[in-house]
């Protein structure tokens, strides 16, 4: 045999299984945790930190905690957390001052949100066609349920509060700021100078002013400028301000997505005879929005957390309710527990939005 040459392969080599050390749990641990001495060291430090933090946290939050009682004195000799207030104040955290015999309306609105969102979140739904009409009707149904009228007891929005207020303002803001943001982004690129200047002006003004300032303006100043018979509801004013603020950011996020689209896409759409709006709706926006998902979700999450700023105009959202409870002599010293619950509520919602957006990005990736 000639040295330095490989023997030619005359037969097909059959599939062989990969070595056990590179697949399964063993393979994962080896490649991810123990691949080098530095990695082994980091793994050990990691486990030490987990051991340092997690068991005491679990002890405090669950095993040493006090759950039952009527006020903080039930937790006098505690070592762990005091969750007594949850039992006592749960309804207030959720519903604010919404009349307790009417809270079923909030619950129904919340439950109906699931089928209303489903066709927007998932592609193929059994009966998706009819659900889509339901999604369109949902904002009106929810408003009717929450505010009442037409036979239902009317409940003024100043009774709105707790997490329900955050969700109401947040959802309304999210669903209004996306279309408004899209229109602003398109308008910013318009050939018509007036449209373009208006959109740029809107974006720069609302991006350049702190949200708190606008909240104050909406609460105190707006009524002075509007004719007295045109009194806008305070919660509505908050929604308008939050939407304007978020859509300015949204417009810039979407502008980035639009800029990422090749000129050839516009030309192909034009060459096929599609009008401006059809090519936007069918060709350009679906792609631009896909590129913008991370930024859009960022804006949604920021908007949702910013709903806590209603505190500055005296509305009692979940944070304000928690804050005033902590200040109450009956519940003194429960700051950590209260704020932990509030943080957890926001985290749950925001984390869900974030996870959903990741799965959406994967689903919309058509290159694989």
């Amino acid at each position: 045999m000639t040295e330095g040459f490989h023997r030619p392969q005359t037969e097909m080599i059959p599939n062989r299984a990969a070595p056990a050390s590179s697949v399964g749990i063993v393979g994962w641990v080896r490649t991810n945790l123990l691949s080098s001495w530095v990695n082994v060291g980091l793994t050990l430090i990691g486990f030490y930190l987990i051991w340092l933090i997690v068991p005491p946290l679990l002890m405090w939050a669950f095993f040493d905690a006090t759950y039952i009682g009527t006020d903080r004195f039930a937790c006098e000799d505690r070592v762990g957390a005091c969750w007594v207030f949850l039992d006592q104040r749960f309804a207030q955290f959720l519903y604010g001052f919404y009349p307790s015999e009417q809270t079923w309306r909030v619950n129904i609105a919340l439950i109906m949100l699931i089928p209303a969102l489903a066709p927007l979140l998932f592609d193929k739904m059994p009966g998706g066609k009819y659900l889509r009409w339901f999604s369109l009707a949902y904002p009106f149904i929810a408003t009717f349920l929450l505010i009442g009228g037409f036979g239902l007891e009317e409940i003024p929005t100043n009774k709105f509060g707790g997490f329900m207020l955050n969700i109401t303002v947040g959802l309304a803001g999210i669903f209004l700021s996306l279309p408004v943001g899209i229109l602003l982004a398109l308008g910013r690129r318009s050939q018509l100078p007036f449209v373009r200047i208006f959109c740029i002006g809107f974006i720069e003004v609302f991006r350049g002013v702190p949200l708190i300032t606008m909240m104050f303006t909406a609460a105190m100043l707006l009524p002075l400028f509007l004719p007295p018979q045109m009194s806008l509801d305070l919660v509505v004013r908050v929604i308008v301000v939050v939407t304007a603020f978020a859509s300015a950011y949204m417009a810039e996020v979407i502008r980035g997505g639009l800029a990422a689209i090749d000129r050839g896409q516009y030309e192909a759409a034009q060459a096929l005879g599609l009008s401006y709006w059809k090519s936007m709706l069918l060709i350009i926006l679906p792609q631009a929005l896909k590129y913008s998902i991370p930024g859009i979700v960022n804006t949604f999450i920021a908007l949702f957390k910013d709903t806590t700023l209603v505190i500055v105009i005296g509305l009692f959202d979940i944070l304000n309710i928690g804050r005033s409870m902590v200040a109450n002599p009956d519940w003194l010293g429960l700051g950590i527990e209260t704020y932990a619950i509030i943080a957890l509520s926001f985290f749950t919602v925001c984390f869900s939005i974030s996870r959903y957006s990741l799965s959406l990005e994967r689903r919309l990736d058509t290159s694989r």
Partner: protein
């Protein structure tokens, strides 16, 4: 008609594209100069010339992806002007295939082909899908109908792009260097489809440097340089007997 040349030339009367005295500038850059061109129905024209000579700009003026400043372009009896209605009706008659395919990546192959028929021509979905499958069969990829463009080779994508244009049932097809973004082994599969299309009687304007294609298919070859039509001839004469020096130089470089 005031143009006297139109009366002397007998083929002029039934031309499907009539371009007279066309001039176009990009800013101060004069890219098309006094272009006159008539295309008869079913005629195949190959346009070649050095880079930057205005070939793309010329065919993009025909479906108004670019608008001209002087002269007139009449397509199938409709004069191109700022009138949006005219532009729409011309674009419905004229299909275009681009160098970079420009398929819509978020839609499947089938959806790419049915989108314009459904939304522009208002054809029912089932019928549009049937037509689309017919053309996908003609370009020899019916089995890829449910794939996304990103999952296909360049040659396959370009054939889908051709099918997508044909689904609008155009009378005229414009091709802007349809094979120059392709690997050599894919060029032939696209050219084969174009030859089939030519044989079916489509009016075609093709910007290309594939001289084999020109010899096989073209009725006329047009050579452009610096925004002008320098030479215009049958393929045989053009390749064997070029008149201008610029054409000779160009041919010596690419053949």
């Amino acid at each position: 008609m005031t143009d006297t040349s139109a009366m002397t030339d007998t083929s002029e009367a039934d031309a499907i594209i009539k371009i007279r005295g066309l001039n176009k500038w990009f800013g101060v850059l004069h890219v098309l100069r006094d272009i006159d061109l008539s295309v008869a129905p079913r005629e195949k024209i190959v346009i070649c010339g050095p880079s930057g000579s205005g070939k793309s700009t010329l065919i993009r003026c025909i479906n108004r992806l670019e608008h001209h400043q002087q002269g007139s372009i009449v397509v199938d009896g409709t004069e191109l002007s700022n009138d949006l209605k005219n532009i729409d009706s011309v674009r419905r008659e004229v299909g275009m295939v681009f160098q970079s395919f420009n398929l819509f990546p978020h839609l499947t192959v089938l959806e790419n082909c049915t989108l314009a028929p459904i939304w522009v021509r208002k054809i029912p979905k089932e019928e549009a899908e049937r037509t689309a499958m017919e053309y996908l069969t003609k370009v020899k990829i019916p089995e890829q109908a449910n794939k996304y463009p990103g999952q296909m080779s360049g040659g396959q994508q370009q054939r889908v792009a051709i099918a997508r244009s044909l689904c609008m049932r155009p009378n005229i097809m414009l091709f802007d260097e349809p094979t120059s973004a392709l690997d050599p082994e894919m060029i032939k599969e696209v050219l084969d489809v174009m030859v089939d299309l030519a044989e079916s009687g489509m009016t075609m304007l093709v910007v290309t440097h594939e001289m084999g294609f020109a010899q096989q298919v073209a009725d006329r070859v047009i050579f452009m340089d610096a925004g002008q039509i320098v030479e215009e001839n049958t393929p045989k004469e053009f390749f064997e007997n070029p008149k201008s020096d610029r054409t000779k130089l160009f041919l010596s470089q690419i053949l």
